[in-house]
């Protein structure tokens, strides 16, 4: 059905269309600026309402420049998802490195701090996951990474809990964590007090 001659064009599988990597320094800077702009615009308006035109404008680029690196809106979203996943993984690893010395309190504090650190891209990532049905794979991957990390940490602090209950506990904690950035967004001036409250609620639950 397709293109060029001799075979030439493996072309791109549109469904998997990844972002084109820039080959020059100038391009690398552009790409970073574009991703940041996308994060801001998607977080502010939601995925569907975030137009590619608005994202390009937010980055001070022409629409064509945006498409130079991200062949589709979906590809841009995927990059954002990937970046978030990496940052999440790094934060969990950092906590794991301290797992020998963690108590329910310090673990809860650490997790709460981690969630607040990831706030910048979080809203955009959630908007993307909510909006797109075909993000299932990415969503599961993110989720798996998150759950595994939390599971490892919990196990270190509560080696006594049965596997079965631990699974529930992991899930409950995961959703408590998810609530933290939302709360912080709600009352920015009281973030630190809210974090303390949330951490207390989690610590109590973990220790229960």
């Amino acid at each position: 059905m397709n293109p060029s001659s001799q075979k030439a064009t493996p072309s791109v599988d549109k469904s998997a269309a990844a972002s084109r990597a820039p080959k020059r320094e100038r391009g690398r800077q552009r790409v970073a600026a574009l991703i940041d702009a996308a994060s801001r615009v998607i977080a502010a308006r939601g995925y569907a309402a975030a137009t590619m035109t608005a994202i390009a404008a937010e980055a001070g680029a022409a629409i064509g420049s945006l498409y130079q690196f991200f062949p589709t809106k979906a590809a841009l979203a995927e990059v954002l998802l990937g970046r978030y996943g990496e940052r999440l993984g790094a934060a969990l690893d950092a906590l794991s490195a301290r797992s020998g010395t963690l108590t329910p309190e310090t673990l809860a504090e650490g997790l709460a701090a981690m969630m607040l650190d990831l706030t910048a891209d979080r809203a955009a990532v959630m908007a993307i996951l909510d909006a797109r049905a075909d993000t299932v794979g990415a969503r599961q991957q993110l989720r798996a990474r998150f759950e595994a990390g939390i599971g490892r940490l919990l196990r270190a602090v509560r080696p006594d809990v049965a596997d079965d209950d631990m699974a529930m506990m992991r899930l409950t904690l995961l959703y408590m964590l998810k609530a933290i950035p939302a709360m912080a967004g709600d009352a920015p001036q009281a973030t630190s007090r809210l974090r303390a409250h949330a951490a207390r609620a989690m610590a109590l639950y973990i220790a229960s």
Copy 2:
């Protein structure tokens, strides 16, 4: 970003006559069916991706019929929001009626049960609130109703907590409650066990 004009000629205050009230029973059923259809479609696709045509089709109606009752997509969304608010208020009132006999445990259980009861419209409501910047008013109204109800209930169970801490507690609890339907959606087969875990976490926190 989108079609019509309408900003030029407000002519009729649309928010006041959000949906033309049907005169007869037949019409009332039709309207309810349309709202239910909207709720399902918006929950499944998100607000922006839920087209008026799809909503009409889901209800087995023609697009023209949908517009007979809801002059704009925004009006339809507002009605959905209103319905959710009323149901939420009713549930909180029912709990309040029992406030003399509530303990942290029964309150937590009652709130968790309430959240699960409201699941049907909840996803659509969240999608609407996330997607539209101009829903701020409705969002605040919903929120105020929710917070006030929880505040009253908490005060009944914990008359000892300082006002200042109570505000934080109210907010923390509110977000814990918000997490429950999400968790239930995640693991439908374990809903009752999850509810128990969530209720335990809340009861511990309330009693702390």
Copy 3:
């Protein structure tokens, strides 16, 4: 006719997206006008250069009206292909009905006349088949219909030729026929004389 429900989005398989059938007389007229306009514009500019906007304009319709009935440019092309196929089949059947009395000369004349009758849509159909790689199916169907019809007619006139040679003869004749409209387009004022020449060339070949 009322769609799904809980699952909401069976939607449409885009790859098979057929043209939506109009349900009112007004629509039926519109559709015919749109197809004719498409035929003219595609014939004049080629498939790729024929813009949907230009086609709509040629039909005096808004772009949205075009898309009301033809969800994609490809769907429009397919309808054109289908119409041509039906007309071709009808013409071949008409010739077949006379097959008892055909001689090489009258057969050649009849085929040449048929090709000229189909001229209106022919250019557009060829442009479509040339331009789109995924028309393979339609192309083969058209081709099969054409070859089968010619084969039957040839067999009636030349029952003596071996099957093997007959296949070649069928193909050769098919391409001679295809040349006729092109020639006629080249020298419109000499169409009848050209038809005579072409018919003579074919008759000689058939009788050889």
Copy 4:
């Protein structure tokens, strides 16, 4: 930052300097590779769908390099047309050189062979001529060259035919010839037999 202006300021007559001639052998090879690539890509996708980027990629060159030699896509197409014209002329001249000894059969054979030799660039040339309205001049030039050559050859073999009929015969033959590559493309494995059939059809017609 000035994009497409150029309609305002023709400045240089681009059709005159259709392609900047390369000064060295290296450049000449590069140009030939680019033209070959263009031929393949245009033949495979059609003129409109053949992107300059794809052509450059097919040649293993950067887009900037392609524009180094061909200032516009049209210029590239023109060069392709020119190359085809020269090869056609050369083939016709070679046949003319044998015109003293030609019979209807050998002439038909020779013409058929010529058409098959030109197959490589033919598809691209046809795609260009079909797609662009402003190729009329080039088309007529090609056509004139072709008709003149055939006319000369026919005259040598059939000095008896009246001028008037000869014109028709020339045209008829021209279209029979055009059909040959199409047939060959259709059934590659039977090319030689098809050529024989086509040559027979032509010889019969020429001799008639």
